[in-house]
């Protein structure tokens, strides 16, 4: 049997979220192609993959999962959608397949003991929200007392996820939080922005995805809300969100887990080994965009996990999902390793453990200047003091509800 590590790629290139889903999916695929072309796989294990269109719909996602999970050499799943993540969270426990949800999914899944198969690497909505408040606090010289912050959010679990943390922060820092939901997919937001106008918040946090983001920016413009007081989550800070607003979005800020642009070596390699050979998945000018690069790091981390697993279970072998999980739980990407991978400047170091499935919470703020994104802050990390207890409480509730028990640290060395 051929030595092939199989990567199921759940993606959506149609439907309301296609403009954002497409570059993301392209980045993932291009990275796989690049590794095969440049390195010949992982220690000689060829990488294969198959894309499955979910259209962001839960049931289609489950079907894709069921179809692809049994493939020989299957590695892990990255469902690219919060709803699908929820549905798969239960299933992966039985099937023993890791679920990688970089920057999305359940915030409580950070607890690797309670959620042995979920990997919200690099950050959850709680860490993101925390960092945004830290950033705003810095702008306000450390004092948010009496300030008003509005959360304009996609009315779905994705959008609601940060609320508990923000409420906690509001209590701690003394700002007033107002919640303004936007019905999915977010094409009509006049009421939301009328409320913004009525309440005149000092800052607006934007928790949107897909068409909701650009519409929010346009409505902000139409209601005259200053864009530089708006802060988006990292799913509201990519090119498709601002491109057709153009000048109107100037000054708008958003978090970013990764850099963008074509300078990083990994991007250069992709251009060289994939696009220049005419094998690019999408158009060339999209390479290095925010979501594209996010796709690249997701894939890079998955492959690192496989490589790490091979170090323990045998180089040049095809890893089972369980072995991959071990790899994911023992990632140790220091700056040196990042440099080797060509990820220098794209992301910060990250190391995971059996109990910590997030690895790091490094994130930066970027600002749109009318034609491109520029970083406008240093790297932040979320405040453990706040997040830890929340994760713990949430995980316990989850386990109780599902009548499950957490792993102990001893069970980790599978």
């Amino acid at each position: 049997q051929a030595k092939e590590q199989f990567f199921p790629l759940l993606s959506y290139r149609t439907g309301p979220y296609a403009p954002n889903g497409t570059p993301w999916a392209n980045g993932k695929q291009d990275y796989l192609k690049m590794i095969n072309a440049r390195d010949g796989g992982i220690n000689g294990v060829k990488l294969t993959w198959e894309e499955c269109e979910t259209g962001y719909a839960t049931d289609r996602g489950v079907e894709c999962y069921e179809r692809l999970k049994g493939r020989p050499g299957v590695t892990l799943f990255d469902p690219q959608a919060t709803g699908i993540t929820f549905a798969l969270t239960d299933k992966v426990v039985n099937d023993k397949i890791p679920l990688l949800t970089l920057g999305y999914g359940l915030s409580v899944a950070q607890d690797g003991l309670a959620f042995p198969w979920n990997f919200p690497l690099m950050g959850s909505y709680w860490t993101g929200a925390d960092v945004l408040i830290q950033h705003i606090m810095k702008k306000e010289n450390g004092n948010l007392k009496g300030k008003k912050i509005a959360l304009v959010y996609h009315d779905s679990p994705f959008g609601k996820e940060p609320i508990p943390l923000l409420q906690e922060r509001a209590r701690m820092n003394g700002f007033e939080l107002s919640l303004i939901p936007v019905t999915a997919p977010g094409v009509e937001q006049k009421a939301a922005w009328l409320q913004v106008r009525q309440q005149r918040p000092d800052y607006v946090l934007l928790w949107g995805w897909g068409v909701m983001n650009s519409t929010a920016l346009k409505e902000a413009q139409a209601t005259g809300y200053p864009r530089d007081k708006m802060y988006g989550v990292w799913w509201a800070g990519a090119e498709p969100d601002v491109k057709d607003v153009g000048e109107g979005a100037k000054g708008y800020n958003a978090l970013n887990l990764n850099s963008s642009g074509t300078q990083p070596k990994v991007i250069q390699d992709i251009l060289k080994y994939v696009h220049d050979k005419g094998q690019g998945t999408g158009p060339k000018d999209e390479v290095g965009q925010v979501l594209y690069t996010r796709g690249v790091i997701i894939q890079a981390l998955s492959i690192e996990a496989v490589r790490r697993a091979q170090e323990r279970f045998g180089k040049g072998k095809v890893m089972t999902p369980e072995q991959v999980r071990w790899g994911l739980e023992n990632l140790n990407l220091d700056q040196k390793r990042l440099d080797q991978l060509g990820l220098a400047g794209v992301m910060r170091p990250l190391s995971t453990s059996c109990s910590d499935h997030m690895g790091s919470t490094w994130v930066r703020v970027q600002t749109w200047d009318g034609s491109k994104w520029n970083f406008s802050s240093d790297w932040y990390q979320a405040d453990e003091q706040i997040i830890k207890p929340m994760v713990k409480a949430g995980a316990e509730k989850y386990l109780a509800e599902k009548k499950l028990t957490a792993r102990t640290a001893a069970q980790c060395q599978s």
């Binding site: 936007v182 977010g186 897909g210 650009s214 057709d244």
Partner: protein, 309 residues
């Protein structure tokens, strides 16, 4: 007070934009008794065509004038909608003469799927821009009258005017021409209409074509507001309460319905929403429409539903 008026005004403007989409539904229903599920897809399809051609034309011809590009794109998109209408009649409607409403509704759904797939295949599935030069920044009005003034969105205002003009034109068409009468006859009874020599095929092409052009205008305006991409087709869902509130068969009803729904929706969200956690506008719109229906089951201006033995 100023804010209330602003909300009211905002609601009116949005309502007009809903009307524009609602109008497409009304047209086809009134003229053929078909509830056209594909209206949303047609809006998307037309907007995609317009957006892409306004991008391609300068690239192909080298003419850089935005006006030329937009006008040409509009015309081409209009022509494409005509072709769509023709094909729909040829391949679908013609074979479903005299079938029940549910069957026809389902057929339009098939058309919707087809158009969605086709549109994205031909024109791509990213976000595209329609820039017809609508002013984006708001103006402040009545600053002296109210504290803080009223913010008026010029883009909305222009869009609302276009919608109003279109509706007026179509009302006239239905009321005054003999084709308008024939259309209503077709809606009542396909077979009887055929039996007295009304050429169903031609009628359907005309109606779908007009609905296509209405979809194009709606797509252009919504597209320039939102950007053109798949979600545009979901605007149809927001327009449905408008259609039933105004009455499925009434062109002016679409406007009045739009205004009522627009205002009701925005006022409820802004004034009631915060007390119940927000996000109520969409179901509120439907409930509002439902309340009207309880009083008038055929909508405000719809033709009375006849059941007689």
């Amino acid at each position: 007070m100023g804010f209330f008026l602003e909300t009211l005004f905002g609601g009116l403007m949005v309502g007009m934009l809903y009307s524009l989409v609602a109008l497409g539904f009304v047209l086809i229903f009134k003229a053929s008794g078909v509830f056209n599920f594909a209206q949303g897809a047609m809006v998307l399809f037309a907007a995609l065509a317009m957006a892409r051609f306004s991008e391609w034309i300068p690239a192909w011809t080298g003419v850089q004038s935005k006006l030329v590009a937009n006008v040409a794109a509009f015309l081409i998109a209009g022509a494409i909608m005509f072709v769509v209408a023709w094909v729909v009649e040829r391949l679908v409607l013609r074979h479903l003469v005299n079938q029940e409403g549910a069957t026809l509704l389902m057929a339009t759904l098939g058309i919707a799927y087809f158009l969605e797939g086709m549109g994205q295949t031909l024109f791509g599935n990213s976000i595209y821009k329609i820039d017809v030069g609508m002013p984006k920044d708001p103006v402040m009005a009545f600053e002296s009258t109210f504290q803080g003034g009223i913010l008026i969105n010029q883009e909305d205002l222009i869009a609302a005017l276009i919608a109003a003009a279109l509706v007026a034109l179509l009302s006239l068409f239905f009321q005054k021409t003999s084709t308008g009468r024939a259309l209503r006859a077709v809606a009542d009874d396909h077979q009887a209409a055929q039996s007295i020599g009304i050429p169903l095929g031609r009628i359907w092409v005309i109606v779908w074509c007009v609905a296509g052009v209405v979809a194009l205008v709606a797509g252009m305006i919504w597209g320039s507001k939102l950007g053109v991409q798949f979600s545009l087709s979901t605007v149809a869902l927001r327009a449905l309460p408008v259609v039933i509130l105004g009455g499925l068969t009434s062109v002016p009803g679409a406007i009045i319905g739009g205004l009522i729904i627009g205002v009701g929706e925005k006022l409820s969200e802004v004034y009631i929403g915060p007390h119940v956690g927000g996000g109520i506008e969409i179901w509120f719109a439907y409930v509002l429409a439902l309340l009207f229906l309880l009083v008038r089951p055929q909508g405000l201006f719809g033709e009375k539903i006849i059941d007689r033995v």
